[in-house]
Amino acid sequence: MATLFLDILTTSSMLFIVAAGLMIILGVMKLINFAHGAFLTVGGYSAHVVTDAGFNAWLTIPAAALVGFVLGIVVERVILRPLYDRPLDAILATWGLGIVIAQVITFIFGRGVQFAESPISGTADLFDISYSSWRLILVLVAVVLGAALTALLYFTRFGLNARAVIMNENLARGLGIDSVKVRALTFGLGAALACAAGALITPLLSIDPNMGLPWLVNSFMLVLVSGVAIPGLALASLLLGGAQVLVSTFVSPIIGGITIVVLAAVILRIKPQGLSRG
């Protein structure tokens, strides 16, 4: 029972961490970033490069975030800016970008699986059972991340400007907010979060050119179900992640693998605006 509880909690945390970057971008920019999976991959490879060069494994996370931020700023400028009024085309362009990133990674690192050192391995004892320490740390990370994003959005000037742009872009511009800059920074932040997430999940995953792809669709579904809000995403992660674990445990892990997709499609049919609206 305790295991099941921890499974649900840790799985949801992972989903939350992975989807957060996608949500920030969709929330502020109204844009679905199909290169999200590729950004996760870039994060994984950043971790590989960092530990390969002999640096401390904890450095992988800030390093990946930095790489992601720079990448995001460049991508926003070159690819996304011309596409703001063509949101469906932006999905396609970012998907194409994902293909390109995967190929570039293959050129540099080859198709094979790479490895990065884990900051922590082994198990910790909790509730009389031994449980993966890294997974427990991810719960902590998810909580901190959720709090930090909330703080960023609700207690900083950038957050205020970003929220103003989300709610009414024209009014925000009329008050002197440079919405173009807000978008660029937001995309940089989203990409940074995605890459950091990529680094955060490497202790449990392999690093290969397609490592991010399976996460893309699930994150996308979660974000839509969340209604594009932080508490909504937490709720969606718990709900759908929990459903995935329950189905995997009690029915079959194979059906568990498509639980999120199917459930999200159903939820969105009933509540098109997602969980946190209407």
């Binding site: 000037r157 205020l160 400007n161 929220r163 103003a164 709610m167 009414n168 024209n170 009014l171 925000a172 511009r173 009329g174 008050l175 002197g176 907010i177 440079d178 919405s179 173009v180």
Partner: protein
């Protein structure tokens, strides 16, 4: 061009020359010219759908001017992006969706100033004009009454301490007492800070009580203009604006 138009002078804050703009292919604003000096209130009068709001939006850069020029303190700002124009010490209060309903009152005010420190310093401006707003800083702006929302709107423009305010139908839907208060605040602001104010209105009594000069917009063109001080204007204006 009207003979009543003031000659351009050094203190002219905003000058609009031959401005034409609109949506689709149809111009909504046609060949409009005027200028406002510091410490002056100009009101553009006209009925709904005559292009008043579009005029303000064109000045602010939201609607593209197809010809003509807008100068702000001597600098040509025609068709600049809105946020750059706003950063030129311009406070714009649109008519619809003018406050962020889902933000708190305080957050709405914060958006009026460049940084959060200025807010604290200038909160007394708001306190002086609308004490009720300062009492409700923590409240969601959407929960304010219609009149309070208008106060918030004007407060947000006040604390920006702009050189010019562009105000779109602030009196709409307000009670007479409230309208009078608005007029007082605008007058005081003009006198105290030497702000230039461009009002767009269809409420004639309010407009005449506060403005120095007026211009009447009809189907996108200025058809008449003059000084409010000339008392006989009221009757002519009534003719233009009656239902």
């Amino acid at each position: 061009m009207s003979a009543l138009r003031k000659p351009e002078s050094a203190e002219s804050v905003l000058t609009v020359e031959g401005l034409t703009s609109g949506y689709d292919a149809a111009p909504v604003v046609r060949d409009v010219s005027f200028s406002i000096a510091a410490g002056e209130i100009l009101v553009i009068l006209g009925k709904n759908g005559m292009g008043k709001s579009t005029l303000l939006k064109t000045i602010m850069g939201f609607v593209r001017a197809s010809s003509g020029k807008v100068h702000l303190a001597g600098e040509n700002i025609t068709n600049r992006p809105p946020h750059l124009i706003a950063q030129h010490s311009v406070a714009y209060t649109p008519q619809e969706y003018a406050i962020f309903q889902d933000l708190t009152v305080e957050e709405n005010l914060r958006l009026g100033v460049e940084n959060d420190k200025l807010l604290k310093e200038r909160l007394e401006d708001v306190e002086a004009a609308f004490p009720r707003i300062v009492e409700r800083l923590r409240q969601g702006a959407g929960t304010l009454s219609g009149g309070e929302q208008k106060m918030l709107l004007l407060s947000r423009a006040l604390i920006a301490r702009p050189q010019i305010m562009l105000i779109d139908e602030i009196s709409e839907g307000l009670q007479p007492t409230m309208i009078a208060r608005m007029a007082e605040v605008l007058q005081a602001t003009k006198e105290k800070n030497g702000v230039a104010i461009l009002l767009v209105e269809q409420n004639l009594p309010f407009a005449l009580s506060v403005a120095d000069r007026y211009a009447i917009l009809k189907i996108g063109e200025i058809v008449e203009r003059g000084d409010v001080a000339h008392a006989d204007t009221a009757a002519t204006l009534e003719e233009h604006l009656r239902i």
